[in-house]
């Protein structure tokens, strides 16, 4: 049986592609870094891969709003195949494949309307806006996967430490009915919390003032996942800001970072679905 294949997009200001690809490789998947232009031109095909990744960065310098110009291009670009890229994305989801966006990639998915993806006609429903502090901030946060989260890509109830590095990461949901649906359908995929796992609105635990301390969203299929924190920056134990102290307390700590364990979970899930597909 073939292995899990991840496509890591790059180009136009995306800049976390290296560590994103490393995450999949270390998690046991194959990963290719592909420039978006090659996807548009048909040189590379999305459908050869099981997981499509929109890494972090500053696409188009964040001009006109983070992720906006990238999303605009993704939406309106006609691919060499005659299909638009946006149609390809929808078909990708319909075929049961996975789409993951981190930071700037999350911002683009939200702008495209793929997250939270509630409306029958895909359109932007929520926004990731300026942090309440008004500043870009790099800090490590605790986050927890809510027990009611419906996406199989995340281990329910798991607690993670991840760095956040953004200026526009506050989830803003303008309409009451959208808020209700997000909660009812279990689309919140990560929440900022205290070290013990208690959800809190308090800064800097919640670094940006996000609604419901929400750090990640999934869509009703559970196949699309977007998050502000950067699990791909915590592949190694030695990335954590407290690793020296932890090593002193536990000299046999393993080298794996919590981000890598999340990617392993994702890859395992996909491997299992591939396996099921083969059997059926």
């Amino acid at each position: 049986m073939r292995g899990v294949r991840a496509l890591v997009l790059t180009g136009f200001g995306i800049n976390c592609e290296e560590e994103m690809a490393a995450a999949y490789r270390l998690a046991g998947a194959e990963a290719d870094i592909v420039h978006l232009k090659d996807v548009f031109s048909g040189k590379a095909c999305l459908f050869d891969y099981d997981i499509l990744n929109f890494p972090g960065g500053f696409s188009f310098g964040d001009d006109l709003g983070a992720g906006r110009v990238l999303a605009n291009r993704l939406k309106y670009k006609q691919c060499a195949t005659g299909e638009s890229f946006f149609e390809q994305l929808q078909r990708y989801i319909a075929e049961g494949k996975i789409i993951i966006g981190i930071c700037n990639g999350f911002q683009a998915l939200v702008t495209l309307g793929l997250l939270p993806g509630l409306a029958p006609e895909i359109q932007q429903e929520v926004a990731l806006v300026s942090n309440d502090s008004g500043k870009f901030e790099d800090r490590w946060c605790h986050c927890v996967v809510p027990k009611y989260c419906t996406s199989p890509l995340l281990p329910k109830g798991a607690l993670f430490d991840f760095p956040v590095r953004h200026g526009e990461g506050k989830l803003w949901v303008p309409h009451e009915e959208t808020r209700e649906l997000i909660i009812r359908k279990g689309l919140i995929a990560l929440q900022y919390c205290t070290q013990e796992g208690g959800i809190t609105e308090e800064y800097p635990h919640n670094p940006n003032g996000a609604w419901m301390s929400c750090a990640a969203l999934t869509d009703p299929t559970g196949q699309v996942l977007g998050m502000m924190p950067h699990p791909e920056a915590y592949l190694s134990f030695y990335n954590h800001p407290q690793w020296p102290q932890r090593l002193r307390e536990e000299p046999t700590a393993k080298d794996e970072g919590e981000g890598l364990s999340l990617f392993k979970h994702i890859v395992e899930h996909v491997r299992a679905t591939l396996h099921t597909a083969v059997i059926t």
């Binding site: 790059t10 180009g11 200001g13 800049n15 976390c16 290296e18 560590e19 490393a22 270390l26 420039h35 232009k37 031109s41 972090g56 500053f58 188009f60 310098g61 001009d63 006109l64 709003g65 906006r68 110009v69 605009n72 291009r73 309106y76 939200v110 702008t111 359109q123 932007q124 926004a127 806006v129 300026s130 942090n131 502090s133 008004g134 500043k135 870009f136 901030e137 790099d138 800090r139 490590w140 430490d161 590095r165 506050k170 803003w172 303008p174 003032g209 950067h230 791909e232 920056a233 915590y234 592949l235 190694s236 030695y238 990335n239 800001p241 407290q242 020296p244 102290q245 002193r248 307390e249």
Partner: protein
Amino acid sequence: MSLVDVDPFVVTLMPAQDYFQAEGVRIEEKAQKFLGIKTGRVTVAKRLIFQNLWELKQVEHFAREVLSEGGIYQACIGGCDLKARYHTWVVVGKRPGVTDDEGATAQKAFNDFLGNEHAAVEQGVFTQTIYGFENALDEAALKKLACELLGNPMVHDFAYNAKQTQAPLCAELPSEKVGVVSLEISDEALQTLSKERHWVFSLEEMKAIQAHFREGALRSMRDALGMPEGPTDCELEILAQTWSEHCKHKEFNALIRYYDKDTDTHREINSLFKTKIAGSTALIQERLKENGHDWLLKVFSDNAGVVRVAENLLFTWKVETHNTPSALDPYGGAITGVLGCNRDAVGTGVGGARPLFNTNVLCFAEPTYDKPLLQGQLHPARILEGVVEGIMDGGNKMGIPTVNGSIVFDERFCGKPLVFCGTGALMPEYLNDQNTWEKRLDPGDWIIMAGGRVGKDGIHGATLSSVEADAELPLGMVQIGSPATQKFLFDFMEEALRMGLIKTSTDNGAGGLSSSIGELAELTNGAEVHLERVPLKYLGLSPWEVFLSESQERMTIAIEPKNWKALKHLADEFEVEVSHIGAFTDTGYLDIQHKSKRVAYLDLEFLHDGVPQKKLCAEWAKPNVQEPKSIVVSDYNSVLLKLLGAYNICSKEDVIRRYDHEVKGRSVVKPLMGMNGEAPQDAAVIRLSHEGYEGLAVSNGILPRYGDIDAYAMSAGAFDEAVRQIIAVGGALPDLLQEDCPFWTVNDNFCVPDSVYDEQGNPDGKYKLAQLVRMCDALYDMALAYNIPMTSGKDSMKNDFRAGDVKISVPPTVLYSMVSKVKDVRKITTSEFKAPGDLIYLLGETYDELGGSEFYKLFDELGANVPQVRPERAIALYKRMAQAHDKRLITSCHDLSDGGLAVGLCESAFGGGLGASIKWNASGLSPQAVLFSESHSRFLVSVNPKRKEAFERLMEGRFTFLGEVIKEHRLSITVKNEKLIDLELAKLLEAWKGGLVL
């Protein structure tokens, strides 16, 4: 140039009423804090101006579908009644000719929306920002807000409460004229001419050029070519740029007569650069070779030096200053400084190195500076804010982690700040079977310009960076950085190099094409350029401006002609503009043409070697400084609290968090460790890859205030500071006799005030030059003692600010930035205490060296006993330290510097969230020296009690046992049986964290 009325389509994006706009809140707070203006609620709206290139219907559709951001903004098309919403407002737009990146991106997005291909065209979409205020502000207040908070008159145009929308347009008529300049004029007229044209030639240099153009052979050749007898404006501009202090380092290459008044001795130094900097490195290079070490590949040539890190892996890096641009436009100066260092690294060798990290060191006056500002002088708080934002965007938007840095405060930086930016990059040693670090070039290779278009920005940057700043500096000097453009460019270059399409490349920085092509032309001995092929942002540039412009984000690439088609195709795919603008030749001349007409024809030998050597005088006399009589301290607790809040010591968290130090996912030691970021570190450590455990340690050493006592001690101390930071985390000095001799690479950066004696203008010039000589003496001595080579460096010689009769000069400053290899990042030691019960030791010796200390500064004293470096003792200790790290005998290690032992103890305690109980009956030292002396080459370490014996055996004779780490959050220090410090950690932390809040 001014705003011109046009009739464009205008889209105003107003934020939705219920949308909380953090940007507005910050502006409201800053207006109150910095300017004392109560604005009331501030709303920020964006305006896009579409110059009549499209149909209104299309614009409307685009605004509704794309620009409204899912309801955050309401898009108003055409008129927008601002008066109905605000009492008063300011519209901020870019000045004509200044890059409007966001407009360019909007144009791309609009084309995407319409399904158009991306043709490289002139810009037709521009942006403005509208700041609306709840309160009715008068025009004076609006103007103050506009010029001091919302924008910079050097970069922006402002309109106050304006109803009419105006779009920027470069209204000047094309001027392609070539001027001819007669040099057959009086000496006085020559000097005036040089000043008026911003050439910054000395009279001697003008006369050398005059003599050159008088040569008979040259005259007849020019005649035959149809060139005028006298030089063209383009030729003089090229000479001015090439001969500038920035490019030729004339003072570092000067013949200096040095007189030591104290000993009544003379000596002569024929080029500080050649004898001291390159001189010491050449000796070290020899020693390395003799012992079979071949990691030092390239020094002092190309854009940056190169060392070998591992098999088929090279490291290159450059640290440079961007002081004058940052004094004029802090944001623009800093961001272009960062992006320029990126290009230096990426333009080394054949090009295409992958940036790995940024580092930066900033020198400002205190943000609380309250003296009246001189004309053209920006307030230090504003400079700080702008520079930090520039460094943030320059690093974050390129995806390069800013791994560490430092901020130094001294009032004398209030005229010109010092902004040191650095970028380190990795490249394979071989690509397509050829080594990557040597530039290869042959006559007939084509010259390609890649990246941004050329405008009037940054003209005269090279020449004017070496004059004192004043309000008269021309606006054209300001450059605007565009990280997005540069990221596109680097992605393209990496791929083109991989495909073997690029033969060599170099960066367009100071001096633009003139500098990049002029320098590469030396390799083949000639170049021919056709300026009409250079793509322009707008019309109206004369040929010399095209050649000299410092428009950013451009690289000069050399290719074999057969690769042009493939390169162009690839560039189109990456949306990068490339232009074939000429070829390298072997004629011996720089041949610059515009529409087939020669605008410059310069003998390369004269261009590069014709500048006459400067002759300068230096005179040293030890400054008359004394130790203070006695400082009476009744309460050491309050002194320590004050010291922790001092600008040079306090936490820089507010700054550090603005920089992404995690991107690339390989950071091991970050600037602040601990979940709450309360553990400041010494050197930064990053892994080379995600798979292996080899890494690099990066450090910076800078100590300007010691120079007031002795510039030699200052320079030596800064060198040692950078070395010991790397030793502290676990690095090892180069050991020539060992097979495994880790590489070290240093960038030295000198920033000094005008050091050329002038009876009227600079009466203490000889003393200042002597300080520079002594700084270089120290560099030489330290480098040879430690066997640590310089690989690149830079000097910035005129860090003065003048307004009328007032001159503000920076203290002479040198920054040593160092990188060395870390064999195994898992064995790294960080600065914070790790566990209660661990034993605390001081390694190295403490002397009564409070001269220039932060402690004395609290009492407005300078002192005389400036810390000295004792290299032999330091080396012996550093070698043992490396063994201790390797054997994991040390649990925490922090190098002692500003504030001495007391501050070091606090910092180690903060990070671990643990207290310490210290007792030291130091003999022969005063309590003040014990607590606050800043003696070099010392470390505060903690040791697991289980390793006590092994540690003490290894460190025999070099350690002092101080006490132990305690669980209680409390620091107590007892000196000679007297408890001098006894404070709760929370109180200390509050003081340390409260020092600098942005």
